[in-house]
Assembly symmetry: D2
Homo-oligomer: 496 residues x 4
């Protein structure tokens, strides 16, 4: 999506901002703030603006009409009279965090989807609010039910619903829906055919597994049609995926090592996306699928470090650097790493694969590959109604819990050797750059959208300070964090 | 439940009455009609009063306060002035039909229960309305989620909701819940443990499979506690049950031939129930489980004719007659019988079993066993979201569709040789008698509750005339049949 | 089987003798030793004769023609000249051990049975030799492929094959074959129908699950026909069985608490067996199934202590004592008990059930119930080709390994408080008595078959001394223990 | 394999030829003929020599030392005196038939492989004899247990066993063994891990699914090592495979449309094979996997016409012609085609795919692609012990039964419009050419190995005449067809 397009979406927000919750069953909207149109000035804090520049002490940020009106040292900038003023002495102002890989809807069990069919948007809203509450002002949803995601995205953009700014890909091109090969391959054994198809169609639209049968030209036409639905970016499978454990049945299939699309098809997918003005990314899980995606010209590689038992060849890493591609990485904290190495069967991932993944990631960092924050996170059900047979107790420091995962990301990447400022950029500016949103997002600079987080401690000194959130501002509006999520659905203890 | 108890329940109905629509979440009852209190006179029809007496032409029935105030030949009875008068010339007045075996909630797939968890009562209301619409003024629900059934039962009795009069047993004592041995034995492979347990508990309460481990005394205590929940009658498993096809997996287990309880335990179950003033019935599916239930002293035998490959011994039939026990039978029409014999694998029932069942039924009729109408029926989902792998296309004249099944019952029993008047009594008076409700239900006699159906043709001449319903009166209130079911849930085409 | 019958079987043995090796396809028996007919004198050991009498020091046992010719103190008995003399100073002579519950064939996986179909007898011979080697001169096989068992039984009796004396029941009346409800209920999902049926028929003969459908009279006829096959004793299911884990699939069915046969049918089974001159025993696993079997008049109760979560009522224990019924018990050592309590899920047995079982067993001992040694043991595959998904790693002191299990039995029963002499009698005389074989087996008395074991230490002082086997004599023949098993099949490391 | 290599293998045959059957358990070898070394002259028949030349009437073929010593018109050639003379007046002499795709071992069920583990070679010998009996003197086994196949191949070449000349590929590079992703993906649910691994390793050797994880260089090393085992040609998966129905479980995975290897890897596979002097072929089942294999430079395409729902692009067909690649095709007869279109669910193949396949095949023929006979056939079990759940009743004119399939091939290809002489060449010369064996096989020419069939009718006039086999000569030896298969294993009615 081009700058102007995003801008127009956002502008509407600013004009209409009422911060209403969904009206379905909601008897009264809760106004979180009506200051979207008015000025806010943040005064006296240390500004880490996301450009990589040295932190600026005693800074001032002036927000108006949802944008950054001005930013600089106190004294250099005239403080408006009437503005809502936030005193930030001793605090740290950073750009709103951006997560390059989330799933606002994630569970693929028959039980879960039967229960929430028709209520996907409620779940997505709840997830977007959990995320925003923790300082993630933009999320990139890389697999999910596209129409529901776009509906919530638009309601948030238009100010009817509060939540993280959503950018959505919908299906991973070539993948099945939740009740299919890549996710829950045995769902059809226990659920009705009509239900299976109805649900899968919500996820695959016209870019499901059928595309694997097609010629490059045919795939190109489908991609064009799919982009026209209004997706924000495109993701395709360079290799396949198996979700052993998702269904409660063992699925020892090894799909992760299989290729989805020939180079000719991948090239068509990339070119069609670029021609339509959106970025394109790959899902890969082997050295050859990674290399093919890179050669095809993707903008971003999801979990490039995931290559099974084979370390990424040096030549491939060099190519990543040369091409300036972004790598969205999902690191494990040391606690988590230990847990996974001790319980490989719980995660259906051989120990050797975990070790190679770890080494790959460190090599990527050291080689200077442009890394962006990604968590693959979603909302878990606290009363554990997911299928337990699949081994869903993910142990210490589970890296995939939305609202928590990004904090663990900093902790984990620090342990891999990434520098504090690099990490901050990876979670802000680089994500914006990777997705082509740098004109409006990713840094605290004059003219950009006013997405920022005020922390109670210096994140460059201690990654735990990312947790000390004092305020979140999104699109120039101060978020009422305590009220989020406004309606508990999945996180309610009164299930269902 | 004793007469006075039922009466007091019903009396309340009459006062507060009826023809209420459900409203979402039932915040407040809306009385659509207040005619429950006023008089109705039905004039000029032929009365078949359910006592076995000869039909009375040009009859008059006077209803007031929900009861039959008077009944007799025109001329003998003074017609009240102000009464709402129904002209019934050329029509036939019969007691409201009573179905001795229905399941207002029936589907046991993970998909279905996950979808409707928390909405059981909506489904039950819908089913009770579908049933009432077709002239069945009382239904005996012989397996289902007891609290939900009792809640709807009470709302109907109290006039907040319109529907068939419900009498409910809850669990079949000794059986698992829907996600267990007797119904969907493999649900636990694909659904969360907490969900499985939560759902099962709704059905089993304290009388699930654990009872099979117990001594007679221990079982007696549990039965007493269970009866105190407020159930209307008790049903227990003399033999077990397998529901091959229910789960989408083959379950070739042959549980149908296994015994559940020893004679000592069965005796305790029967005596405890009788002492509490409720009738007791058995589920049996083999010659020995049938005999044990009979010896234990049950009031009613569900599907006595179902004895696998072994014909019921003559001695057992003689004992049935001597004891005056009621047999609730589920006959097949000739079309249906042909279908089953041609497709034994679809129904997971060997052809030989079907043949023995058929012969048993005819022998029971000829021996003079007191038969009552039973259909085992429930509401199917018209958009077929049930698990199809289980072979749910039940072919021509599916005998288990609520609202249709009782019409097929007459057609089927006629083909077995049952006489018209016997059939009418089996569907009215005998059911009331079997369940100990003859003081208030089952016939059109002075002082009884005013449940009756007006038909456009003589049901004793042609069983198809049961379908020609001109009016249904329940508890003295004329049912607005066209409005039923008031809110389509399962039968809505906008699934889910 | 009457004494004379067994005697005539055995006499043949003595004539034709023993220590034969199997040869492939058994074209001709090879007599390795002809000493069956000659005399053996055992001199100078301490005799514990199995009658309960005080141990007799410096004893002499004279064996001839396969029988005990004389027994007494040295000095009282004239030692024959030419006899093969065994010096037993410092050693202990006890009757050959008898195991009241083994399975010479046991694995029910599709894989195993497909591999060994057509070779059952090889497995059974191997098992009978493993057992004999460890001092168990008689085994009572309580479930297995009857024709194969009888063939090996007869070859052993006739001296063509060496091995423990086999007495076999074949099917547990009412149970399915290995590929059915009681054992591997999902075999039919992965194996051919013809194979399934062919195998099941080998086990069920005419007394499989079909009997559950029948009237008492019909069952009686089947039992008579089955006994005529030549079985040695009869076992029936008073309750059912589930073998969770046997198939590699979870089978959460709870069949263990279900009854198989009505009291009337059980009575017919018992009476028909007794009339045919054989003993009858029950499989039970709940308090009511135990009580029904007892009332029906069985001679022996298998695992009476297994009653799920419910302790055996005192009245039932009193009845056991009054009736003088034998209880064949499978105790856990303390190590094993701890393992089971810590890993209930591995064994698919709730912790509470294990605790009740343990308490039951101690109560049976203290009440003076006549206990006999039983192990339920069979031969495991050392290269672990069984289905592992079923959790076949049974932990420390696995009580069900043939050749080892009986040693653990003494260790376990000692820890429950059983006295040394009681234990010895439970493993010798009582087993013979329970099975009606006391005229020829069970003690070292003049005229009985010469089955005895010479130990290197006093078994009444230390149960570990049962392991110090110096010699095994069966039917008057000294067993060449080192040569057993003669042909390794299942225990070969060159699988398959 | 180069000519000299094959020749040396064969030469040995000629020297040592004794036509012995396997000695395992075979008490006496059956000498079919000892004339391998002596001369045979075939006189008077019509020769269709497989070169495409016009049939030669009244021809003479002289065989000596296993080779064609001379061939030509009677009169032109001097008939040796002492030769064994076959009068062939009115008969037709054609080259021995060659099947480019068979599986001498084929069943992948747990049941089957457990039963025959350790006896693979017996099955393979039986299959090779069934094939030879019906005139197929050479078979190319394109998936099977390589060591067993090579052992039988060598025993046949050396004259110890009679059977079709075997050329074997072993694994399809990249595929799992029988108990894995491509064949029976759920075997591990019901069989022991050790068994699963032991069996899979026999099939995959070092070229199983692990190769999908590797870089091109790593794959090259594995291929080299694998070729060194002694395989005759190499086959790799350009796309994957699912064998829905093989396991008795539905496996709705759609693997057929997925790619296995990147172009870079495919190139390495092809080049490594060619460098080692063997031909290389692909398994493909989609338009892109077909194109990639073609571009990589394979010599032969298995079932090129199988491309799911997408017709082969014209450009791809043109490329096939230009490159002169061979297409091994598995046509359906019209009866069979009708059966498949009427029963798509039985074969787990959508109707649309079957239609596209059919059209593709006709387009390949019309475009002049070099087609070779292939049947994918193996031996079925006549007592149907295979897993029936997989829908193994393949209906009329099952094209995959070894010994029958090649006759159906001619019938089927005729119906697609292929010319008589083209078909004959496709089943003889072209197969030899495709596999690089034209120097020694494929035609009846001087100096070639003497593999030929004498038919009782003209195969160019009526394809049914291929069935009228009067004699089969292989390697100069007259085959005793009546004796084949010498030992029935799978085809015995005394199963198992």
């Amino acid at each position: 999506m081009s700058r102007s397009c995003l801008r127009s979406r956002t502008f509407k927000t600013i004009r209409w901002i009422v911060l209403v919750t969904t009206i379905t069953f909601h008897l009264s909207p809760i106004a979180i703030s009506s200051e979207g149109n008015s000025q806010i000035s943040i005064v006296g804090g240390t500004l880490i603006d996301g450009t990589g520049a040295k932190p600026l002490e005693d800074a001032v940020v002036i927000i108006e009409g949802g944008e950054i009106l001005d930013v600089g040292s106190r004294g250099q900038i005239e403080l408006p009279e009437a503005a809502h003023r936030i005193q930030a002495h001793g605090q740290y102002i950073i750009p709103g965090l951006m997560d390059a890989n989330v799933h606002l809807f994630r569970d693929v069990s028959v039980e879960f989807i039967a229960r929430y069919e028709g209520r996907f948007e409620e779940l997505i809203e709840e997830a977007a609010q959990i995320s925003l509450k923790q300082g993630v002002t933009s999320v990139f949803d890389t697999w999910g039910p596209i129409q529901s995601l776009m509906n919530v995205r638009d309601r948030i953009d238009q100010g009817y619903v509060v939540g993280s700014r959503i950018f959505a890909a919908g299906n991973i091109v070539g993948f099945s829906g939740p009740f299919g090969r890549e996710f829950n391959a045995t769902a059809s054994w226990t659920a009705a055919g009509e239900f299976i198809e109805r649900v899968n169609e919500k996820f695959t639209k016209n870019v499901g597994p059928d595309l694997l049968w097609m010629t490059p030209d045919q795939v190109g036409l489908e991609i064009k049609e799919y982009i026209n639905l209004g997706i924000d970016f495109l993701k395709y499978g360079s290799s396949a995926h198996d979700c052993t454990g998702c269904s409660g049945f063992p699925q020892p299939l090894g799909l992760n090592s299989m290729l989805m699309f020939s180079p000719a098809v991948q090239e068509v997918i990339v070119n069609t996306s670029h021609k339509a003005g959106i970025t394109v990314q790959s899902h890969s899980s082997s050295v050859e699928s990674l290399r093919l995606a890179l050669v095809a010209g993707v903008d971003l590689l999801q979990h490039a470090s995931e290559t099974g038992p084979t370390p990424i060849p040096d030549a491939t890493i060099r190519l990543m650097v040369e091409k300036g591609v972004y790598a969205a990485e999902l690191p494990r904290t040391q606690n988590r790493l230990r847990f996974e190495l001790e319980n490989p069967e719980l995660l259906h991932r051989p120990r050797e694969h975990t070790q190679v993944l770890e080494e790959n990631l460190i090599r990527l960092i050291n080689a200077g590959v442009a890394i962006v924050m990604a968590t693959d996170s979603g909302v878990s059900n606290p009363v554990k109604t997911e299928v337990e047979a699949g081994g869903q107790d993910f142990g210490a420091e589970h890296p995939e819990e939305l609202g928590e995962a990004h904090f663990l990301w900093f902790k984990a990447m620090q342990s891999k050797g990434m520098k504090p400022m690099e990490m901050l950029l990876a979670a802000t500016r680089n994500v914006a750059a990777a997705y082509g949103k740098l004109d409006s997002l990713g840094t605290i600079e004059k003219g950009k959208l006013a997405d920022l987080v005020i922390l109670g401690g210096d994140p460059l000194r201690d990654v735990n300070n990312y947790r000390k959130i004092r305020a979140v501002v999104k699109g120039g509006v101060l978020v009422d964090r305590a009220a989020l999520p406004i309606r508990k659905v999945l996180t309610s203890r009164n299930q269902p």
